[in-house]
């Protein structure tokens, strides 16, 4: 039954991918890429990777679509038609496809217990997590503690990406943005003339943010964590910006606060790592943060997940505002 679902979803994925390549309307391509992400999320869920599925659904199908639409508003809606033959790229793609197909002959069967990935460090993680960290969700234990160094790297990637987008699209002071937004608002007023979304969205936003906080703090026990929670909360605020207008969202959560979230979240993660050294352990070793090593791990994971959530939420909203302000 699972195999049937997987084949069905993967077939739809291929159709969607071909449709994305074939369409010349970029708006359609953006919508299709949202569908692609949603199918991918379902696929991850079928494979029991609930954490990844949640991330893919929130980031891929949700925020990325909004950011793409923001980018489309700044550029043309149709793809530039390239007429000259592209034999080189066709050759490279064909070669890559053949290499990848050849590589699949060596991949282990789905769920094979003898696959290298299940023989390397995974058994150790599964065995040691209850004793060392004692959280039910092993994914969180690996992501936040065992491989905390990698996650720190990811946080810095988000941080750097945010700085890059702000440098390219330009940062303006709150005043000029607010003034411009006010001018736009008098013309268009966000979605203000749409009565029903204006009534419904404020009803939903508290629940979206509440769910985000639940995902943030429940990450030790179930699927979730800082990345997903930051995205969900950012989505709630973007919904507010879409319905009530850009300036209302900036009044509710000003740009300085968002900067603080991005920088503060990254700093918090780094400082928790440094605290490990100061208290006599290794970098990102949470066991020394409290008298009891397991309690120390819990505290460390809670703090760095909070750092990740702040960083992701602030970065996404800053990027969204950078697009919207143009």
């Amino acid at each position: 039954m699972v195999l049937l679902f997987a084949v069905f979803l993967l077939t739809l994925l291929v159709f969607t991918a071909v449709a994305i390549v074939r369409t010349s309307d970029l708006f359609v391509a953006v919508m299709l890429s949202g569908i692609f992400s949603l199918l991918m999320a379902a696929n991850f869920f079928v494979l029991d990777a609930a954490d990844v599925a949640l991330t893919e659904a929130a980031v891929g199908a949700g925020i990325t679509t909004v950011l793409f639409l923001g980018a489309l508003a700044l550029t043309a809606e149709r793809e530039r038609v390239v007429t000259k033959a592209r034999w080189l790229s066709l050759g490279v793609v064909t070669l890559m496809t053949l290499v990848l197909i050849y590589a699949t002959f060596d991949t282990p069967r789905l769920g094979d217990p003898n696959a290298p990935v299940h023989q390397h460090v995974a058994p150790w993680y599964l065995q040691q997590t209850p004793a060392l960290i004692d959280v039910p969700n092993v994914v969180t234990a690996i992501l936040a503690s065992f491989r905390g160094y990698d996650t720190l790297g990811e946080v810095f990637v988000v941080f750097t990406a945010c700085i890059g987008v702000l440098l390219v699209l330009g940062t303006r002071t709150d005043d000029s943005v607010l003034r411009q937004a006010r001018r736009l608002d008098t013309e268009r007023q966000g979605l203000r003339h749409h009565l029903i979304p204006r009534i419904v969205a404020p009803l939903l936003i508290p629940f979206i943010v509440l769910f985000g906080l639940y995902v943030q703090f429940h990450g030790d026990f179930g699927p979730g964590g800082g990345f997903q929670a930051g995205t969900l909360i950012a989505a709630g605020i973007i919904l507010y910006a879409l319905v009530q207008g850009e300036s209302a969202a900036l009044r509710a959560v000003p740009r300085a606060a968002l900067m603080g979230l991005v920088v503060g979240g990254t700093l918090l993660y780094g400082l928790v790592g440094m605290a490990g050294i100061v208290l006599g352990g290794n970098f990102l070793d949470y066991a020394v943060l409290a008298a009891d090593p397991v309690a120390g791990q819990h505290l460390g994971i809670l703090l760095i997940e909070a750092g990740v959530g702040m960083n992701v939420c602030g970065a996404l909203l800053l990027i969204f505002h950078a697009f919207a302000a143009r």
């Binding site: 749409h194 029903i196 979304p197 009803l203 939903l204 629940f207």
Partner: protein
């Protein structure tokens, strides 16, 4: 005995829901213009969701999943029609007139 009745009821609801989703999908593909297609698609949102989620709720007895499904149902019942409304309103504002005899020719 009760279990059989609940199972049967759940089966009937799921089948009816699937039928609505199918009709919605068919309509979205086959109906002539934007507004009629949207009307068909909103069938999937409204009746399809209600029937299928109620069917699943009957399967899960009275437990935590039932309450979660109820919450999902409430969420979808609020957001689905709102999204349909926003879509139709956006189409209307961008100048697409709902005319009874208009047929869009897809190129």
């Amino acid at each position: 005995m009760v279990a059989v009745i609940i199972d049967g009821l759940s089966w009937a609801l799921l089948t009816a829901g699937a039928a609505f989703v199918f009709v919605g999908g068919l309509g979205a593909l086959r109906l002539p213009n934007f507004y009629t297609r949207m009307h068909a698609a909103s069938l999937t949102d409204a009746m399809g969701t209600i029937l299928i989620l109620t069917g699943i709720m009957l399967q899960s007895a009275l437990s935590l999943p039932t309450i979660k499904l109820l919450a999902i149902l409430g969420f979808l019942l609020v957001t689905g029609p709102t999204a349909s409304y926003a879509l139709a309103n956006a189409a209307l504002l961008s100048g697409l007139r709902p005319e009874a005899d208009s047929i869009e020719h897809q190129g």
